[in-house]
């Protein structure tokens, strides 16, 4: 029952946001980059449902187009972090010894930096762009994934079904792929869905520092960042992307829980 409700609410929320992201370009009420200086900072009204920003651009249109950027950045970043982190975690946890020590030394060194600082450093080298952000944040979040995976693998490798697989003559790589990885899925789904939210917020923090998705292209993050000077005079500028980020996070978390339960044979 809880599974269904999670799936229903989470699926609906994410489904709507994704549908908007994909189709936005065709039905925004205004061109998202059209500047109209006579209509600067208009409050929400019949003509501009969510008001206009400091350049007179329609907030609703920018929000719709920004969904595409924000969702792509978040989803691909999480994928990148998962791929790198899972690979490191599996190898370190399963083979132990010097492989473990070398990989974890590197991993812990990365973990010792705040993720945002690491991303900042990488971005100044790569230069701010959508894919630069994906790469930088992906690398910044990978160490956390590696830690979680390594922890799961360490406890799994002591289980007798791993030894049974070895006794059957299966190779280490096959055992890793067939028996270890699938049993790490539960903690990974939880981590991945919470990471989805962190990434959207990190992107907004990067925008704030001028290294996010470069304007004039809209993303929820840079909309939120540019709204800061108008927090008192034009609250709608920060509320609109804020609410979208919150709804999106709620959606991914509910869907993540549903996914985890669905993938678990015990439920």
């Amino acid at each position: 029952m809880r599974l269904r409700l999670n799936l229903l609410i989470g699926g609906t929320l994410l489904g709507i946001v994704t549908a908007i992201a994909i189709t936005a370009a065709f039905w925004t009420p205004y061109a998202p980059r059209a500047i109209n200086l006579r209509r600067r900072l208009n409050a929400p009204s019949g003509t501009h449902w969510l008001g206009t920003d400091e350049f007179g651009r329609d907030v609703l249109s920018r929000l719709m187009v920004g969904a595409e950027t924000s969702l792509t950045v978040a989803a691909v970043t999480v994928l990148v972090a998962l791929c790198i982190g899972v690979l490191i975690g599996l190898l370190a946890g399963f083979f132990r010894g010097w492989v473990d020590r070398a990989l974890m030394a590197l991993n812990d060194a990365l973990l010792a930096f705040p993720g945002i600082l690491l991303a900042l450093g990488l971005l100044t080298v790569i230069g701010p762009s959508k894919w630069g952000i994906v790469l930088a944040l992906g690398l910044a979040y990978a160490p956390a994934v590696a830690r979680v995976v390594r922890g799961s693998v360490l406890s799994l490798r002591e289980r007798e079904f791993i030894e049974a697989s070895r006794a059957l003559g299966n190779s280490e790589l096959y055992t890793l792929w067939r028996h270890v990885l699938p049993n790490c899925v539960s903690p990974l789904t939880v981590l991945a869905t919470s990471m989805f939210g962190w990434v959207i917020l990190s992107e907004s923090a990067l925008s704030f520092l001028g290294l996010g998705v470069p304007p004039p292209a809209p993303s929820w993050g840079n909309m939120l960042a540019t709204a800061r000077p108008f927090l008192e005079s034009a609250t709608w500028l920060s509320i609109a992307p804020g609410v979208m980020i919150a709804l999106c996070l709620l959606g991914t978390n509910l869907l993540g829980d549903a996914l985890r339960d669905w993938l678990d044979p015990r439920t």
Binding site: F161, E163, S165, A167, P265
Partner: protein, 526 residues
């Protein structure tokens, strides 16, 4: 006279649809030892926990009454009873002591709470009790942590800290199920001795009927939440009235028929002067002492033969078995399979050996991948038999499942099976490639008595039909007697006695073998 504990029409339920205990009534007289016997899920633990008010969340007492020492036990009064009134010893000695707190502090808690003793007096009382339960250095033990002791020692410490408060009733929930036969006898003898000194009554919960014969005055048999039979322990075992009790008695392992003489042949799998050392734990700058788990053992298993490897915990029997299967790296010595030394082969070169030798593990809960279905688990070994088509593979899996009595279970996940069914899956996985040799590492010690009987019978039937050799590792001599042709006894990593089963059982030569045989609970004579 009013009994010490009177339980009347007790009902323990989880929600409206499930009753763990249904209308159970019984008395415990002061100072008597009452055994509560039943299989997993019979409600025996739920009933005992209801008495001391420690039901797990979800279960609740919804009817009947519990009167202890003349007063009704309620949620309000039960806390004061715990300790001086009713003490409890749990099954799992590895987890029932707090690993982060020294033993002295844990023992002192109860005394400080329930007695006027303070400081040095508490210390003296703890030391005296630890000495009584056979701890060699009680003063040092008070400052030690639980991980420094073996399972048997921890259970003694647990018993000591409970008996310090001289409870009128001691509830012991499967106190020795996690221990080997020798330690089990020691701990139970100690428990009975200690409770006799303090005139405490004992409620001994167990699935092992043989223990009842040895230790209890009276016994209750529980099944599906109801008490089905009650009586004097001896009468219950020798002349059970109920069919269910008779089934339990029949499930006790008995020595099988004497093995047929076999023609002398080349050994199938042989260990020669095999040693296994484990490197000591690494501390900051020094390495701890290496552990010599197996010290130069010679052991041969012939085609079709059933050899039992017997010993207490820590005797090295499991390590020896795993080393012979190349699951643990031997430090020196040779392992010969059909005359070929396989102790240094790796990777693909080892595959023919892997194809011919398989293993069944002790714990069926951890030996099956929880994310795979039964049919997938049994099919996996066949991926190395590349000549089989997928249709043939499916047919073979089906036939294998059928022969272990699990026809139609292929689509299930392990969590939807009982312990005995899981062990059948593990046996099917080991046998589906028709191996020549199977290592069975304590395959029944995690199971109920009736299920043990079924699994042992299944193993013997399959062995007769398929002719594989079996090395059966166990601490339980009764189970060994049922299945083995030959017995090998290990102690401290060395083989101390070896011979035909009947010779070893009837005329043991080594004192350790004799001690093992004496400790094994038996119905006849016990």
């Amino acid at each position: 006279m009013m009994p010490l504990l009177r339980v009347a029409a007790l009902r323990v339920t989880a929600g409206p649809s499930f009753a763990a205990v249904e209308g159970a009534s019984f008395d415990v007289a002061a100072g008597e030892i009452l055994a509560l016997v039943g299989e997993s899920g019979s409600g025996k633990t739920a009933m005992a926990r209801a008495v001391i008010g420690l039901l797990p969340p979800g279960l609740a007492v919804t009817g009947g009454s519990i009167v202890f020492d003349g007063a009704e036990v309620t949620a309000k009064t039960v806390r004061a009873l715990r300790g001086p009134g009713i003490g409890m010893v749990f099954q799992e000695p590895m987890t029932s002591l707090n690993p982060a707190v020294p033993i002295g502090v844990q023992m002192a808690e109860g005394l400080a709470l329930h007695t006027p003793l303070r400081g040095a007096e508490i210390n003296a009382a703890c030391r005296a009790m630890l000495a009584r339960v056979g701890i060699a250095d009680p003063a040092a033990c008070l400052n030690a942590y639980p991980h420094e002791f073996s399972g048997g020692m921890r259970q003694r410490i647990m018993l000591a800290s409970v008996m310090l408060l001289r409870p009128k009733l001691l509830i012991a929930d499967e106190p020795t199920t996690a221990l080997d036969t020798l330690t089990q006898a020691e701990v139970l003898d100690l428990m009975v001795g200690l409770t006799r000194e303090h005139c405490s009554a004992v409620l001994l919960i167990t699935h092992n009927l043989a223990l009842v014969a040895r230790y209890a005055d009276r016994a209750l048999v529980m099944r599906r939440g109801r008490i089905v039979e009650e009586g004097k322990a001896r009468a219950l075992l020798t002349a059970p009235r109920e069919a269910y009790t008779r089934a339990l008695v029949d499930a006790l392992p008995r020595r099988g028929p004497p093995p047929l003489p076999r023609a002398p042949s080349e050994p199938l799998l042989r260990a020669e002067a095999l040693r296994v050392d484990f490197a000591g734990r690494r501390r900051f700058f020094v390495r701890g002492r290496a552990v010599q788990a197996v010290r130069g053992v010679n052991l041969a298993v012939h085609t079709g033969e059933s050899v039992a490897l017997v010993g207490g915990s820590g005797s090295g029997k499991t390590t020896l078995g795993r080393a012979m299967l190349r699951l643990v790296e031997p430090s020196s010595g040779r392992i010969l399979f059909r005359g070929q030394d396989i102790s240094t082969l790796r990777g693909a070169a080892l595959l023919p050996f892997r194809m011919a030798c398989q293993i069944v593990f002790q714990d069926p809960y951890s030996s099956l991948d929880p994310r795979m279905r039964v049919a997938q688990i049994v099919d996996e070994p066949l991926r190395h038999m590349r000549r089989l088509s997928s249709v043939e593979r499916a047919r073979r899996v089906e036939a294998m499942l059928d022969s272990v009595g699990l026809a139609g279970f292929g689509k299930r996940h392990p969590h939807a099976l009982s312990g005995g069914q899981r062990q059948r899956v593990a046996i099917a996985r080991a046998l589906v490639r028709n191996p020549d040799f199977v290592l069975a590492d304590e395959p029944v010690s995690a199971l109920d008595m009736t299920i043990q009987k079924q699994i042992l019978t299944l193993l013997r039937t399959l062995q007769r039909a398929r002719g594989f050799a079996c090395l059966f590792i166990s601490h339980d001599l009764a189970a060994v007697g049922e299945i083995a042709d030959r017995v090998v006894v290990m102690q401290h990593g060395e083989v101390v006695e070896e011979g035909d089963r009947d010779a070893v059982f009837d005329a043991p030569r080594h004192p350790y073998t004799r001690a093992l045989l004496d400790a094994a609970p038996r119905l006849e004579g016990g």
